[in-house]
Amino acid sequence: MICRLTEIVNPSGLHGRPAAQLVEAAKRYRSKLTIRNITEHGEAVNAKSIVRILSLSASKGKTVELCAEGEDEIQALEDLINLIDSGFGEI
């Protein structure tokens, strides 16, 4: 398993559409993918589930930890981190 930290940079946070985009990206990979709100000491949840991502309350400025485990874990992790860092097209 590999993990990386990053900060939420898009102004509206992981709410509606950004959360949907993240799920869509996560589902392209076979690896098990989890995400955790580090700032609020949250639990790691399934990154392929929009309701779990919404439950994170990951607004702008929060740090999240993404973990991937599986055959395509390196590519998956990089892809999701890039998506979050790109601000989902909001910035």
Binding site: P11, S12, G13, L14, H15, G16, R17, A19, A20, V23, E24, N46, K48, S49, I50, V51, R52, L54, S55, S57, A58, S59, K60, G61
Partner: protein
């Protein structure tokens, strides 16, 4: 609830106007179903059949959403964003697994399983500290209700084929309902629930449909087919208007449509005189809603913080305030935000603070004076503001300053707060500009002395006028004595602006005068280059600015300095424009 036979009399309902404009039309009353789910169980062995029923419901829901998508192909991007989210929720793998597991283990029917699983997430998401995320609970409810309706075998309530000139009156309009509205047909929306930040309000504004939300019992008072007038600006709904009212609103609509069309051209422009001189346009805000108009202004000239204190049953905590200030600063981006510390006094009561009952509240323990007394409350606000300062471009402004002693005392409290933050290793921006409201004559007349003690000031014309003219601005009996165009007012403003401009310090105006087109030319002529107002007024003031040159403005300003009464000044300004 009204009886169906008594329909002719006019009725006026009020709510929160969230999308501007006046519209006429015929009511279409739409009540979203409240699905009651019974505790129903099935016999062991029937699992597969019921799981299949659930899977079919999801498939039908997907077909419905896809149909909407294709209808929206050229529609609004906001509408598509909402439906994207709904599809993602519909095919959520955790929900799928949990629904199936509970059905198999607890032997409960699909409707019960769907409502249990969704309700769990609705309550988690609804409690998010981020209001934007919390509002997504409405989308979860939306998908849940769609599934429950499909399981009951009912067709969707189709709002996409309403007749022309329909005013939609609903108890709880869902975002997906609103997204499917046919733009040209629905002229206005009236809804029993919701507020300005709801998805529904955002959609209504993007569709430019006049909309009034939180109208209690609207669907009980209004029947389908009744004639309605909706005023989305003032939050008024008129049912069965009489002829007089209808013609008054027809005039209002005509004027509004014409004016809006003209002003809208100015909405996104910068404030600029005919000769190209720049005048910075600010907005006054009083909450942390997502877009009060940041995109079309240069700065926030007044961020009122009273809502934090008045909307709650106890003093807001430092963290609550910090979250709100940070949010506002982030939303405003790199635009300066002028946070005014608590401005409250004996005329408003706070349940958790025993404010003295005073004979003369506006001359009593108000604003800064109250803060000096309630030092913990004051420090808490300043701490929250300073901690938030690293997230944007903050300025702090003290209200109701009457002497240089007040300025110094307020600044020393702020210094103490900064020192505490230093000791705790808490980051803040050490260069936050510190300024004052100029609204008390005793500070207005020593503007040249106070200017060396502050980084900026903002003229609060409403209070300044009431103190200068010794007139309660809320007392209709003495309205004629409240003279914001009096020679004394203009000379006072002139003195303040001259002192600040000479010292090279920022001076702005944030009272109602800034939003009055009649005052624009003279204010610019007196030397003001920063006007801050409610967002609804920025377009009309930008339009006014574009009508004259700096030279013309200065001529007008020098001419009015010699006029002796407010009447003369108003007449002169009206003719000079």
């Amino acid at each position: 609830m009204r009886d169906n036979n008594h329909h002719e009399e006019m009725l006026i309902l009020r709510g929160e106007g969230v999308s501007d404009g006046v519209a006429f039309g015929n009511a279409f009353v739409y009540r979203a179903e409240q699905y009651v789910v019974n505790e129903e169980y099935f016999e062991p062995g029937d699992e597969d059949a019921f799981v299949q029923e659930w899977e079919e419901a999801r498939h039908t829901a997907q077909v419905e959403l896809d149909t909407f998508f294709s209808a929206l192909e050229n529609g609004s991007s906001e509408g598509r964003a909402i439906l994207d989210v709904h599809k993602s929720i519909l095919f959520d793998e955790e929900i799928e697994e949990m629904v199936e597991t509970t059905m198999r283990e607890d032997k409960i029917v699909p409707a019960l399983a769907v409502s249990r699983v969704f309700d769990l997430f609705i309550s988690i998401v609804g409690e998010s500290s981020d209001p934007l995320i919390a509002e997504r609970a409405a989308d979860l409810r939306d998908v849940r209700d769609r599934l429950l309706r499909i399981i009951r075998g009912e067709n969707s309530s189709d709002l996409s084929h309403l007749p022309e000139n329909t005013i939609l009156v609903a108890n709880d309009l869902l975002p997906s309902d609103a997204a499917t509205l046919e733009k040209g047909k629905v002229t206005a929306i009236v809804n029993e629930s919701g507020s300005a930040t709801a998805h529904l309000a955002i959609l209504a504004r993007s569709y430019r449909i006049p909309t009034v939300l939180s109208v209690p019992k609207a669907t009980a008072f209004i029947n389908s087919g009744e004639h309605l007038i909706v005023d989305g600006h003032d939050g008024v709904v008129v049912v069965n208007p009489d002829e007089e009212t209808a013609s008054a609103y027809a005039t209002k609509k005509r004027l509004l449509d014409k004016k809006t069309a003209l002003e809208n051209e100015y909405q996104d422009r910068k404030g600029m005189l005919r000769d190209g001189t720049t005048v910075h346009i600010g907005i006054n805000i009083g909450d942390d809603r997502e877009d009060p108009g940041y995109s079309s202004c240069d700065f926030v000239g007044l961020f009122r913080t009273e809502f934090l204190y008045m909307d709650s049953q106890q003093l807001p905590t430092e963290q609550q305030q910090f979250d709100v200030y940070r949010r506002v600063l982030e939303l405003a981006g790199d635009k300066p935000v002028t946070l005014r510390t608590l401005d409250i006094g004996g005329d408003k009561q706070l349940p958790y603070l025993s404010l003295p009952e005073e004979m003369n509240p506006f001359l009593g323990k108000r604003a800064l004076r109250l803060c000096f007394e309630e030092m913990d409350m004051f420090k808490t606000q300043l701490r929250a503001a300073m901690r938030a300062s690293v997230f944007g471009n903050l300025q702090i402004m003290f209200p109701m300053v009457a002497s240089i002693d007040d300025v110094r005392q307020a600044k020393s409290v702020l210094e103490a707060v900064k020192k505490d933050l230093d000791d705790e290793g808490c980051p803040y921006d050490p260069h936050v500009p510190i300024g004052i409201m100029i609204e008390v004559p005793s500070i207005a007349f020593i503007a040249d002395l106070v200017v060396t003690e502050v980084d900026f000031a903002s003229i609060g014309t409403n209070d300044l006028c009431q103190y200068l003219c010794a007139t309660d601005r809320d007392n209709a009996e003495v309205r004629e004595y409240y003279q914001s165009f009096s020679p004394a007012m203009l000379r006072t403003v002139h003195g303040i602006v001259t002192a600040f401009n000479a010292a090279g310090k920022e001076i702005s105006i944030c009272g109602e005068m800034a939003a009055d087109p009649l005052a624009t030319k003279v204010l610019v002529g007196l030397g003001l280059r920063k006007l801050s107002m409610n967002n609804a007024s920025t377009a009309k003031i930008k339009m006014e600015l574009a009508q004259f040159t700096l030279e013309e403005a200065e001529d007008v300003a020098s001419a009015v300095m010699f006029l002796k009464t407010q009447k003369d000044i108003i007449e002169y300004l009206s003719s000079a424009s």
